[in-house]
């Protein structure tokens, strides 16, 4: 059914809403990739089967939604309208959860959220600290609607921003509104979205006046899944943003570049594009406005560097995904040498919000130069791992402790790395810094696309730098000298430092190579690739020096620099370490202190992990 006018869209919305009963009992099962891998789809099936056997199928709707964000506790299940939140739901629990929630009317205690096992349960989703302290604008539909149904998106007010734009806002006015909102690119650079749109709009589109819009969904940072969750959980908001942007800059053709490793995102986007076409929201003469626009999905092979805009465009054109020097901007000569506007998934998803609610509403949240919200994937050594959306300007401390629930096991915080593998590590002294584009850059890190990796005191910062450089060595395209040879040499130097073979002058050498990469690399990947090294030297220089001068790893991580021993007075002689030791380095009689033979010890940490009384010491 094609919607010929904006009014027809409104009529459709009304008819969908009329059919919906807001009080109907719903069971929302998280269908994000994290929960699916924890078995959420089987849980959903079990609910269906149980409802059938209880003859409740007609009264209760089971819905598989996009990612709820609290991945640590998956599979997640929410009962509406009661808003009861269940965590780690397994097949075993399904019958009891159903019986108690729906028949007895009391939430099933066992699967309710508890901060720790000792804490009292929290019943409602909105009362859980993880959710309570967030501001979910971009993620507003994630976890609420079925992402495979365009009707559900429309029922939530979907495509009304598009109708508003086509039915009375001039392209110029739309760009102005985005400008006034102060929207900056969420993919990492933080460039003004309006300024980018304007330069593409004003660029020469050649004899056929062609311009392209691209959605960058190549998210490749280890531990980052903001864009994936959006594309999986609310694909229409991304598509609606793209159509509005295309109308504003005068483009008729768009691409969504998604990495191959995101099959569910591709599936949901594909479905969303097809259903938007069926309604005439994509294709010729959208909503009778005379404006035509369509979107094609392009699947990337999973190269990290393809998230870089010029490499991404090369990849769409069928060439090797390598960046080019961008002294002529993509906004003038991008895809097929024509003006091209590339924005990140999250940036696009912000557009309908701004058009619907207005620039003033949007700009009221955030800091002076960073407006709105930002989605982060909070991972690493933090209690509540998951996807969080917060207003710009919230402090790192509020994110890590307020939402993330702090560091597990009572350990001390050490650093947080923001911005993906080429971001920097920020120490405790700067935990109160407000998170926005400019503050993070000032601290030697970056917003990046929104990865946030928390590290505790048991993390060796030299080892962390080595880990990220190792990742980047694999992912650099190898085209320019500083990035390719610089990363290679950084890894060599870092490896020797962690092996206790560091030399006097290695820190200066690392800095020289790092500076050369920052100034001299061809693209932003190389330009930022030395950040993990430079920032750890800046904030944790003493750790580097301990490795080089004293041949010691203060965090007890680097295998060549540590020894394991058992504290005699603490050992209870339980024999657990003796059983797990793969090299038979531990001896001792039952209930008497055990000993580790340093010569046989292969420093695998197995004894350290199993000791019930923390009697294994690493030095």
């Amino acid at each position: 059914m094609r919607l010929e006018t904006p009014n027809k869209l409104e009529e459709l919305r009304k008819s969908i809403l009329e059919k919906q009963d807001p009080n109907k009992q719903k069971i929302l099962v998280c269908g994000g990739t994290g929960c699916i891998s924890n078995g959420s789809l089987e849980v959903a099936k079990a609910f269906e089967a149980e409802l059938k056997s209880q003859k409740l199928k007609a009264e209760v709707e089971v819905k598989i939604t996009g990612c709820h964000g609290f991945c640590e506790r998956g599979p997640l299940v929410v009962f509406l309208p009661q808003s009861i939140f269940y965590e780690r739901v397994d097949l075993k629990g399904v019958p009891d959860i159903l019986k108690e929630t729906l028949i007895s009317g009391v939430p099933h205690d066992k699967y309710l959220y508890r901060m720790t096992k000792k804490d009292d349960p929290i019943t409602k989703e909105e009362d859980i600290p993880f959710y309570k302290n967030q501001l979910r604008w971009v993620l507003r539909h994630n976890g609420k609607i079925d992402p495979t149904s365009i009707d559900e998106y429309i029922a939530q007010g979907g495509y009304s921003a598009l109708a508003k734009a086509l039915n009375g806002l001039s392209p110029e006015r739309i760009v102005d509104e985005i400008d006034k909102a102060g929207l900056r690119g969420r993919g990492g650079g933080g460039f003004s979205t309006a300024r980018k749109w304007r330069s593409v709009k004003d660029a020469d589109g050649g004899p056929d006046n062609i311009r392209y819009v691209i959605c960058n969904g190549d998210e490749g940072d280890p531990g980052a899944f903001m864009d994936r969750s959006l594309m999986e959980g609310d694909p229409h908001s991304v598509i609606e943003g793209m159509i509005i942007g295309a109308y504003a800059i005068g483009s008729n053709k768009g691409y969504i570049y998604v990495r191959m490793e995101y099959p569910l995102a591709v599936k949901h986007l594909d479905l969303a594009i097809k259903s938007a076409r069926d309604y005439g929201l994509l294709g010729e003469n959208i909503l009778g406005s005379g404006f035509s626009f369509d979107i094609e999905i392009n699947r990337g092979g999973g190269a990290f560097v393809c998230g870089e805009s010029s490499a991404l465009m090369a990849s769409i054109m069928g060439r090797a995904g390598e960046p080019r020097a961008k002294y002529v901007h993509s906004s003038e000569k991008g895809l097929n040498d024509l003006p091209t506007n590339l924005n990140n998934v999250e940036t696009w998803a912000n557009v309908p919000l701004i058009i619907n609610r207005g620039a003033d509403w949007f700009a009221a949240v955030g800091t002076e130069k960073s407006k709105g919200t930002k989605v982060f994937s909070l991972v690493g050594s933090v209690n509540n791992v998951g996807l969080v959306e917060v207003p710009m300007g919230l402090s790192l401390r509020e994110i890590i402790y307020g939402i993330g629930g702090g560091i597990p096991g009572g350990k001390k915080f050490k650093a947080v790395q923001t911005g993906g593998p080429s971001g920097g590590c920020i120490p405790e002294a700067h935990l109160d810094a407000p998170v926005d584009f400019d503050e993070l850059t000032k601290l030697g890190s970056m917003m990046g696309s929104g990865g946030m990796i928390v590290m505790d005191e048991k993390t060796c910062m030299v080892d962390v730098a080595k880990y990220f450089i190792n990742f980047l060595v694999d992912e650099s395209c190898g085209k320019c000298t500083p990035c390719r040879e610089g990363l290679r040499q950084l890894l060599i130097v870092l490896t020797r430092i962690t092996e206790g073979k560091g030399k006097e002058g290695d820190i200066e050498l690392l800095k020289d190579i790092g500076d050369c990469m920052t100034w001299g690399s061809l693209c932003a990947l190389g330009g930022s690739a030395s950040n993990p090294v430079i920032s750890t030297i800046k904030y944790f220089r003493d750790e580097y020096e301990a490795h080089i001068k004293e041949k010691r790893c203060p965090a007890g991580v680097c295998q060549d620099l540590i020894t394991f021993s058992i504290i005699e007075g603490d050992c209870i002689g339980c024999g657990r370490c003796l059983k797990v030791c793969p090299s038979s380095a531990i001896t001792g009689e039952n209930k008497k202190p055990h000993v580790i033979d340093e010569k046989l010890c292969i420093r695998c940490r197995a004894c350290y992990e199993v000791c019930p009384v923390d009697a294994v010491m690493i030095e």
Binding site: A325, C480, T481, P482, W519
Partner: protein, 239 residues
Amino acid sequence: MKEVVKIELNGEEIEVKKGATLLSIARERHVYIPTLCHNDALEPYGVCRMCLVEIEERGRMRVVTSCNYPAKEGLKVKTDTERVVLTRNVVIELLLARAPENEEIKKLAEFYGVKGGRLELVNDECILCGMCVRTCDEVVGVKALGFANRGIDRVPATPFMESSETCIGCGSCVYVCPTGYIKMRDENGKRYIENWKVELELSRCESCGAYIAPKRQLDYIRNLADLPEDFYNLCWNCR
């Protein structure tokens, strides 16, 4: 007539053609900027990063490659700032570790006072300037070469590293290679380019019997150019 813009080069205000590369402007004025991946016959590539200069544009300082940066009104260009010197010297140091025996790089290192010894040697003759790949594509038009692998494993190669079916054995890649990495030899009526696993039969002069060029190369030219048949059958001397 092309548009003229005013720029500043090392403090001196000059008028130049808009869009001309900073490298060409500097060279016209005898300001030395080193290059390794640049050749006037090829499109600027900007990967060796030897030709870095620092520019100031609308109050923003940046280090850019002069080989492909176009002149714009009001641009201030400096060729030897602290940042440029540090970056260039480390690039030389990195290349010196990669190809320690290369004469060109040894010369550059000596000229700029860069000493080796801090870095682990890689001992790879190829410095990945891409001159071979680009010449085969842009000048010869055969496109027999490309790059294989990524990052530190990147190498110029034929598709799937197999014996090239399109290489005409013209030797242009050998000619442009600044490091002697590409090896070519003519032996017993055949031309060998080991890097591309190519073995091509050489054509003989109908008059004196000397070898002229690979048959495949002559066929390639025959298809492109309208030359008398003698050109293909006779050697330089007998033509």
